[in-house]
């Protein structure tokens, strides 16, 4: 790719060329200046995420997985290297509303109904009223919350609230979904159920998903690509292309293939710790 081309041309090139990465990071560095001296949250991170990929980021706390996701979302500014989202800078991608971001907490507004909460980004983006209603109905169906539109957040369980927050991130039809430990605060059973639903949703919508997690089974079950990271400085230690088929019933987790991938992830995490 010609570096001298302006960004608008690059965007066009990328959008017309199939197989080019949706997210591309090259030599990414991010150092936070704190009172205890500099903290290297990311050091020389390079990664490509292709269209339709489901990429999980796994690693211990402080490995920079959330920071990396926040860089993609233009919530943090890298101190070195480059990153593009849809071929443009994260800031431009954010202004173009290229991604939906799901936070660890559902963050629904208590003064808005579930429907009202999902309508919130649509109102901000100036989408016509009639279309807002249509989209709210559609994404609620997608996360299996049809009929809950008029309920208030406190009337829903934690898992349902998180589903509503995913629906909100889907409502404006961004192609990229960035998820920061969205099921981290939920219990195992609810989590299994939501993982299954998320896979179905991913299959139906063909979104590109970047997913931060602490859980090895969750990462292996969901992903087409697993990125293992380790801390101090935050860096990528292994990238595993999953050999698992796209169709994944929950009991795939007992197959030898699944266990083998899980083993490799665990090895990668352990290796990252031994370097210290």
């Amino acid at each position: 790719m010609n570096k001298h081309m302006n960004e608008a041309t690059i965007t066009q090139t990328i959008e017309t060329a199939p197989g080019t990465p949706v997210i591309a990071a090259r030599g990414l560095d991010l150092t936070f200046q704190t009172n205890d001296g500099p903290v290297h949250a990311l050091r020389d991170v390079s990664l490509d995420i292709a269209k339709g990929d489901f990429v999980s980021f796994i690693g211990p706390s402080g490995c920079g997985k959330t920071t990396f996701l926040r860089v993609m979302a233009d919530l943090e500014e890298p101190t070195g290297g480059s990153v593009t989202v849809n071929g443009v800078t994260p800031a431009e991608a954010r202004r173009a509303r290229a991604y939906g971001y799901v936070f660890q907490a559902a963050g629904l507004y208590p003064w808005r109904t579930i429907g009202g909460n999902i309508r919130l980004p649509l109102e901000i983006m100036g989408i016509p009223r009639a279309e807002q209603a249509e989209r709210v109905r559609r994404v609620l169906e997608l996360v299996e919350l049809g009929g809950f539109e008029k309920k208030f957040p406190w009337q829903l369980s934690g898992g349902m609230q998180q589903r509503a927050s995913i629906a909100r991130a889907l409502s404006f039809d961004a192609d990229i979904l960035l998820m920061d430990e969205p099921f981290g605060a939920l219990d195992e059973i609810v989590r299994d159920h939501l993982n299954e639903q998320l896979l179905k949703l991913w299959e139906r919508t063909g979104k590109t998903i970047a997913f931060v997690t602490h859980s090895i089974p969750e990462a292996v079950y969901l992903s087409t690509k697993i990125v293992v990271m380790s801390p101090r400085p935050g860096r990528i230690t292994d990238v595993i292309e999953s050999p698992l088929p796209k169709e994944r019933p929950l009991d795939i987790r007992d197959t030898p293939e699944f266990l083998e991938v899980a083993h490799r992830v665990r090895e990668g995490l352990r290796a990252g710790h031994q370097d210290e």
Partner: protein
């Protein structure tokens, strides 16, 4: 409500007992004085009945204040200058106007402080300094200056109310508008929301619990401001005028009934805000 009734009545009864006892103690010298001049020996029952029924007692007994209140509210036409309802209305109108102006000013300053870094650094110290000036010192000047430019009547008093009531609103609203956490603000950023959208859709609704708490304090401060504002005007009308007039002529019963009226007014106003607060926050799912 009913659970708090008994404790409240107990406290009231306790206050009543102390009040009657204090009335005897404080008014006794004058009763003894009268008895000496008349050359009679004062028995204890006579002393008590005298101290509870003097014309200009140092401390009027509760029933005397009650009788005065009854006389000046129910038995007088509300248009009469001797009606406490008339005076209360004068004070109430200045209180409400000052409260509305103060709340408006407070919200404007808070919005400025939250959105503008320069205002954040520069305005807050002045806001705090403004409240360290004794209002009694500055009130006559406001009245005189405004009078000199031809503004008199309701507005000068309302300005003093405003001066006192904007402060709690500024402090509360700055805290309230800053109450959304980092995640909620990041979320707005991912949607590329403008500062105005973040304000209307997140900051303002999130500030409501702080807003109502501030309003209650502002309302009470506003009433104090209106009463203080009535003192230097030469005691024409209003509860402040009743207080001042009462002290000129030693009409302690009049002073106390004006005080009780002011307290009742404050309770009613603050209570009204409390009800609006409960209903609003319940509807917003925040209570």
């Amino acid at each position: 409500m009913s659970r708090s009734l008994l404790p409240v009545l107990t406290v009231l009864a306790f206050i009543g007992v102390i009040w009657y006892a204090a009335a005897v103690a404080l008014n006794a010298p004058w009763a003894y004085d009268k008895a000496q001049r008349a050359g009679v020996e004062l028995t204890l029952p006579a002393l008590v009945s005298d101290t509870w029924a003097q014309d200009k007692p140092k401390l009027p007994a509760p029933h005397q204040v009650g009788a005065e209140l009854w006389e000046t509210t129910v038995q007088k036409k509300v248009t009469s200058k001797r009606s406490l309802v008339y005076h209360a209305w004068i004070t109430l109108s200045a209180t409400l106007l000052g409260f509305v102006l103060g709340t408006g000013l407070g919200i404007l300053l808070a919005v400025g402080i939250v959105f503008n870094r320069t205002m954040d650094m520069s305005v807050m110290p002045w806001v705090i300094a403004s409240q360290t000036i004794p209002i009694l010192a500055i009130a006559p000047m406001i009245i005189v200056v405004l009078n000199a430019v031809g503004i008199s009547g309701l507005l000068p008093k309302a300005m003093i109310s405003m001066y006192l009531s904007f402060f709690p609103v500024v402090v509360g609203m700055v805290k309230g508008l800053r109450s959304p956490d980092a995640m909620q603000l990041d979320q707005m950023r991912t949607w590329n929301a403008s500062a105005a959208q973040t304000f209307w859709k997140l900051r303002l609704p999130a500030s409501m619990p702080y807003f109502f708490t501030s309003l209650k304090i502002a309302m009470a401060a506003s009433l104090v401001g209106a009463i203080v504002g009535e003192l230097p005007t030469g005691a024409v009308a209003g509860l402040g005028a009743r207080l001042l007039g009462g002290s000129y002529y030693g009409q302690t019963i009049q002073i106390w009934s004006a005080l009780i009226m002011a307290a009742a007014l404050a309770a009613a106003l603050v209570g009204t805000i409390g009800i609006i607060q409960r209903v609003t926050l319940k509807r917003m799912g925040m209570a």
